[in-house]
């Protein structure tokens, strides 16, 4: 598929909106994507590959379940003692020459980062991929302040140059294929004769970014882990752009959600084993870096950590939902999800898509937005099965559905909503065997006009039409099971 004039790419789901405040509800957002065969093929291809690689490595790791148990336990221990670990991290980071800032919300985080960059007189800043910075919508704020953010991850570069949005936590451009990448690079890097093989494309990115790495004096990163014991930060990556950003500039700003902390350095022996296998199906990703504050003569001499709350402390308070914060952003759940497979990430209207997005985003929004996300799941449980920190995502989804329902049912508009009405009526029917039996008979009568000669229903009105859009429904038989049983009992000697 070629891009139309003006630079639109075939895989773009007509300007994806990854802002939960403005995004369409999931069922509507998904519709145009479901018609995008190219995108769905790309997503299926990518997730199949990562899943197969992951499965092979998990099979070979005889202590995989023990690692999951340890990882979940370590993360729970962190969450239970989060205040202590964060203070310990802060003390040690400062002692090592770093600065620690605390941001209550996205707005404050952006302000802190902007202030730090203004102190640098920075007109440009190089960035390592960090979903957290997308969560706080940092790039538009930087641009508005006259600071140009340069994404250095190949995927993020593809998205930035293509005016697109990430659709996966670990492989953000998985919805884009090589031909589309070639088109973007050729146009934006001025390389009309660029080949479309991944080798050539990668070489183009390497040349394009090298100049930036060696000249831009400030960098922004996220963090995979913060180590409380030492005040260290760890980042896991594949391309080397992370190492470039962490080592070459004068100033480094690391943005990290408060839940990213681990107690001790040695806890990485668990986390690193599960992260790479879950995220990219490798025993270890090419580069893992760890640094502590400022080290004289080695790397940035000005180092700032911005700790971000932005709704996390509210999640922490809730007994069932707290496990959401164990997440280490491996995206194994996205790769395993049969819903995500059909829609990719853009349909979730958030930088966090797939199963983790369905529980994290609504909670970060305090359930004021993204209320459709907990319903964007068939509750199949594949995510829970692969989650390296054992987050019982279906359990949290159901809990959030209950909370969303409690909020919605109080609204006047819901009184005659067919779904709400139907649920209340069904509950009444289920409360008494007599009513249930009656409803069965009435149901059969009501469906009779829609039932064809072959005994099947081809089309139904109202909510029923959503069933019959793609499926027939077998008509109700004359005799229900309980009727049959009752007749049989009477016939017994």
């Amino acid at each position: 598929m070629s891009g139309a004039a003006g630079g639109s790419i075939a895989t773009r789901s007509s300007d994806p909106v990854l802002d939960p405040v403005r995004a369409l509800p999931f069922p509507e957002a998904a519709l145009p994507i479901l018609h995008n065969t190219q995108l769905r093929t790309n997503v299926a291809h990518a997730t199949d590959i990562i899943q197969a690689k992951r499965a092979r490595l998990v099979q070979e790791k005889s202590d995989w379940q023990a690692l999951r148990t340890a990882a979940a336990a370590i993360r729970d221990n962190v969450l239970q003692n989060l205040g202590d670990y964060l203070e310990q991290f802060e003390t040690n980071c400062i002692a090592a020459g770093g600065f620690v800032h605390w941001a209550t919300d996205a707005d404050e985080a952006r302000r802190i980062i902007l202030d730090l960059l203004r102190d640098e007189n920075a007109s440009e800043v190089i960035k390592i991929k960090t979903m957290t910075s997308a969560e706080i919508q940092l790039n538009p704020a930087l641009e508005a302040a006259g600071i140009h953010p340069v994404e250095t991850d190949l995927a993020e570069l593809i998205l930035q140059l293509g005016d697109d949005e990430p659709s996966h936590i670990v492989v953000p451009a998985l919805h884009v294929n090589r031909f589309q990448v070639r088109e973007i690079f050729a146009r934006r890097m001025g390389l009309p004769n660029l080949a479309d093989d991944p080798q050539a494309l990668t070489a183009a990115a390497r040349a394009h970014l090298r100049k930036k790495f060696l000249s831009v004096p400030a960098a922004i990163s996220g963090a995979n882990f913060l180590i409380a014991e030492t005040g260290s930060v760890s980042i896991v990556e594949s391309e080397g752009n992370g190492r470039m950003c962490l080592t070459l500039p004068r100033t480094l700003i690391t943005l990290a959600g408060i839940e990213k902390v681990l107690p001790r350095y040695r806890d990485l022996e668990v986390m690193l084993q599960i992260l790479a296998r879950s995220a990219t199906g490798e025993r270890m990703n090419p580069y893992t870096s760890l640094w502590t504050g400022v080290v004289p003569n080695d790397g940035p001499q000005r180092f700032h950590v911005v700790l971000l709350d932005n709704g996390r402390s509210s999640i922490l308070a809730r007994p069932v939902e707290r496990q959401t914060l164990r997440c280490i952003r491996c995206a194994a759940c996205q790769n395993a999800c049969p819903v995500y497979r059909q829609t990719g990430g853009h349909a979730y209207g958030s930088v966090y898509g797939g199963p983790i997005g369905a529980i994290l985003t609504p909670q970060l929004m305090h359930l004021e937005h993204a209320q459709s996300l907990p319903y964007a799941s068939s509750l199949c449980g594949a995510c829970y099965e692969v989650c390296p920190v054992k987050i019982n995502i279906p359990e949290v989804l159901i809990e959030l559905r209950a909370q969303v329902t409690d909020i919605e049912r109080k609204q006047a508009t819901r009184v005659f909503d067919p779904m709400y009405l139907g649920m209340r009526v069904a509950n009444t029917i289920f409360s008494s065997a007599g009513l249930f039996h009656l409803a069965q008979r009435l149901g059969r009568i009501a469906l009779a006009p829609f039932t064809r000669k072959d005994g099947w229903i081809h089309s139904l009105p109202s909510l029923g039409s959503r069933w019959t859009v793609s499926r027939d429904l077998r008509g109700l038989s004359k005799q229900t099971f309980r009727d049959w049983w009752s007749v049989r009992q009477k016939e017994k000697p």
């Binding site: 497979r341 829609t343 068939s378 099965e385 409690d406 069933w467 859009v469 229900t480």
Partner: protein, 250 residues
Amino acid sequence: MRASLFIACYNDTLFPETGRAVVHLLERLGVNLDFNPGQTCCGQMHANTGFRAEAFSQAKRFVRLYQNAETVVIPSSSCVAMIRDQYPGLFAELGNDSLRNEFTALFPRVYELSEFLIDKLAVEDVGAYFPHRVTYHASCHGLRALHLGDRPFRLLSKVRGLELVPLANLDRCCGFGGTFSIKNAAVSSAMLETKLHDVLSTRAEFCAALDNSCLMHLGGALHRRSNPMRTIHLAQILACTGSTPAEAFA
């Protein structure tokens, strides 16, 4: 062996032939089966859609109905998953001590059908005869919530005349998901399409499962396409013997 049958609201209404098959099968195996006509629904639909108070009232009803049952057999993995996975939380949050005790006492006595046959009756060969090409779809609740494992396969392997064709991507969800099929009809249909591709590739005559919920979804699409493949609950296969025509249950 005595057992109480909880047929599940949707089987009762939409798939009575599955219920009849369960009765014939278990009675043939010497089970003294009873059916309490007071039963309605386990509450799963309401729980999964977010109507927790309503789900609890149905859960309470279920527990009271079966407090004296020796064993409860349910030909629906999703209902058993509801009872095992969600009832504890519901009773902890909304119940009182007496209800919680009743539930705790009932908990170990609830079985999904294939569990009942393999674990409780300790039979794999139920004397069935079903000379057809069959593929088996592992519904998500059975697979991941109940960890049924190879139970259905062990039962199918002893059915005389049956040719079992493996289903590719066996553990991928068919897309039904209860009210998900309505609230997210488009995505549900896309998932159905993907699943159907694998099911049809088996060229089986029948697609079997332990849950009519999945089969209603798959079967509805097969019929929409005028495809000759039919869906069938495992109970109906197991109930067929040499002396009973397969057509009576299909």
